[in-house]
């Protein structure tokens, strides 16, 4: 470790000095997520004043609100069903179906205290967090190596990773089931924690490559000249600047994990190990005509964590989705 004679402290100090210099441009990564709607707003107004309100009402607001209505109605219906008393659920003629005056928390209560639902939520959360963290670590290293180390064949590896993104789980689940069985992982959370990264790594590597490219190479050069190792550069220079990208990748991966179904359906068999989507489909669906209340409550509660997360990080989410497509 000869180069670590220069301490970390010295490296960060030099960098701080570079960063305060006005002639060195700061990386764009942090602004990228905002760039989606800000820069053009002023100009798009330019000609739209030529259109009068009645015309806009018919060509713009009417179709828009109809599409929104269709997109949101299933959620309204889901939430309404989850809090309706049983007798109102099936009697559409005596009670107005679109509203309820006496909501009940019976379904949600039943869900949380009479089933394994909290356990399933925990399983899903555990698998999603572990798989996401593993994938992000692997992707950060891979993306940095492809973009900045530029080892021999890096371009090809980048292309191969994009191709890996195009391999759908529906093709892989049968051979993966036998692989999981061979490795002795069947019906354990590790079956999912180790297989989900195959979906997540290609996506997040691709996304992070885009972010790393926006970080000026000069910053790294300075650090290199000051004697920082590649590892120090990655941890102390690149990662702090790529935090918006990391958040985007994290949220998107987490959502993908939560959403995954076919692997969880195939690789898990015992009730206690299931994730929320599989458990709801397999455990809640019985012949009971009054099952709808608890089914909808289960679907609602299972979606809430993601919706809350999404509400806090909308911009990151959108930039993750569009960023991965644009690259």
């Amino acid at each position: 470790m000869s180069e670590s004679a220069i301490t970390d402290r010295a490296v960060t100090d030099r960098l701080a000095a570079k960063l305060t210099r006005p002639d060195i441009k700061l990386p764009q990564a942090t602004e990228r997520s905002l760039a989606i709607d800000t820069p053009l707003d002023d100009h798009t107004q330019g000609m739209s004043y030529l259109e009068r309100l009645p015309k806009r009402l018919v060509t713009l607001y009417l179709p828009l609100s109809m599409i929104l209505l269709v997109l949101l109605f299933p959620f309204y219906w889901m939430a309404l069903t989850a809090i309706k008393p049983d007798e109102q659920l099936l009697d559409l003629d005596r009670y107005s179906p679109f509203w309820t005056w006496n909501p009940t928390i019976k379904h949600i209560q039943k869900l949380l205290f009479e089933t394994h639902y909290p356990l399933w939520l925990w399983n899903t959360m555990f698998v999603a967090v572990c798989a996401t963290v593993l994938s992000i670590i692997a992707s950060v290293l891979a993306a940095y190596a492809i973009v900045r180390l530029r080892y021999r064949g890096a371009q090809w590896v980048g292309g191969a990773i994009f191709l890996a993104y195009l391999v759908p789980p529906s093709i892989l689940f049968i051979p993966l089931a036998s692989v999981v069985f061979q490795y002795g992982l069947f019906d354990t959370p590790f079956a999912l924690i180790l297989t989900y990264p195959t979906i997540l790594i290609p996506f997040s590597t691709w996304l992070l490559m885009g972010y790393f490219k926006t970080i000026p190479y000069e910053l790294e050069e300075c650090a290199l000249i000051d004697g920082a190792s590649r590892w120090q550069i990655l941890v102390k220079v690149v990662l702090p600047l790529a935090i918006p990208g990391l958040i985007s990748a994290f949220i998107f991966c987490f959502t993908l994990c939560w959403n995954e179904f076919i692997y969880a359906l195939t690789f898990l068999s015992s009730t206690a190990n299931k994730t929320v989507p599989v458990a709801i489909v397999n455990e809640f669906v019985d012949g009971d005509i009054y099952r709808w209340g608890s089914l909808m409550a289960g679907a609602l509660v299972g979606s809430l964590p993601l919706v809350v997360l999404y509400a806090f990080f909308v911009e990151h989410y959108v930039s993750a989705m569009t960023g991965a497509v644009k690259e």
């Binding site: 759908p168 529906s170 929320v276």
Partner: protein, 321 residues
């Protein structure tokens, strides 16, 4: 974005010291460093993606069952599938599902993107709301659709009855064609936000001065769309539609929740059929053959949407990135 990144070719690194002990040299050597950095990702992708992909193709040539390793039987699985009407029905269903759903998703998605690109109040919030169907796990929203499509208590049937449009309840998931249109509708509902939001991001990169110039020149709305918006969007349309077609073609969750392939295999897709044969029926070899049979379709879809839509870019003399 990529062009900018390509423009700033990094300056060459200081040359590694030519001699000295092996370990420090390995730490500095770029290719070795690259190897170590790639190791975790490569390990995952090789062990759980490349190897299973190969294994799947191999399994399709064997008569493996669950709990019993099989012997090589050549093309027997495929010959069996060739004469299997259920398999061909699933191919037909998958193609119908993919083509109709992708086309409608593209049309509505593009329309929605154009609407959202107008000067609107609460634009950011609208965009956030539009994306919600994409956030909620497919299985959970599919369950909501299952309830909406219930044969007796469907709110859709009830509303139409109240309006006097129909006399009896619609059997959404019990009738062959109704079931097909119902699952296609649910798939479109789920996919439109993705298409719309990504295309919207593409629209926002189109310079407004192009539109202003066109308006001054007296172009109609359609001409503006056809001659400016659409050409500027083609690269991103190519990518978005490749993804959309790919994920629609291999869809499993939605069908599994709504119909499990019924009624009488009317909504059986190749993915659900392979699950049914391989995992529920135990015929891993046959299921793997169905899954492998999806690969040529996927390759064709990728090539068509990729090259078909990218052609314009080549014609303009840009290099294909």
């Amino acid at each position: 974005m990529t062009d900018v990144a390509l423009g700033t070719t990094p300056a060459p690194l200081p040359a590694p010291p030519p001699d000295g002990p092996l370990w420090p040299r390995l730490k500095v050597n770029r290719n070795w460093l690259g190897f170590w950095f790639m190791l975790p990702a490569a390990a995952f992708l090789i062990l759980f993606l490349a190897y299973p992909l190969g294994l799947g193709v191999w399994l399709s040539f064997t008569d493996t069952r669950i709990g019993r390793s099989g012997a090589f039987i050549g093309l027997e699985n495929y010959e069996w599938l060739w004469d299997d009407t259920v398999f061909w029905l699933s191919v037909f269903n998958t193609l119908l599902y993919t083509i109709v759903a992708s086309a409608v998703k593209f049309a509505i998605g593009l329309y929605l993107a154009l609407l959202l690109n107008e000067n609107l109040p609460f634009k950011a919030m609208l965009r956030a709301i539009v994306l919600i169907p994409f956030i909620v796990p497919t299985v959970l929203s599919a369950i909501a659709f299952w309830w909406l499509f219930d044969s007796q208590f469907s709110i859709i049937s009830w509303s139409l009855r109240q309006l006097g449009l129909i006399s009896g309840n619609i059997n959404f998931l019990g009738d062959v064609w109704n079931a097909r249109w119902s699952v296609i509708f649910a798939n479109i509902w789920r996919g439109v936000p993705f298409v719309a939001i990504t295309l919207l991001a593409g629209l926002q990169t189109v310079s407004p001065s192009l539109y202003e110039a066109a308006i001054i020149d007296g172009a109609s709305r359609w001409q503006i769309f056809r001659r400016i918006t659409y050409p500027m969007l083609t690269p991103i349309i190519a990518v978005v539609m490749t993804f959309s077609v790919l994920f629609t073609f291999t869809d499993f969750q939605l069908i599994w929740v709504l119909t499990r392939g019924g009624p009488v295999n009317a909504t059986q897709l190749m993915a659900t059929l392979s699950y049914q044969r391989a995992i529920l029926g135990g015929q891993l070899g046959e299921g793997a053959a169905i899954a492998t049979a999806m690969i040529p379709f996927l390759l064709a879809a990728i090539l068509i949407s990729w090259f078909g839509l990218q052609r314009r870019k080549w014609q303009q003399g840009e290099n294909n990135e």
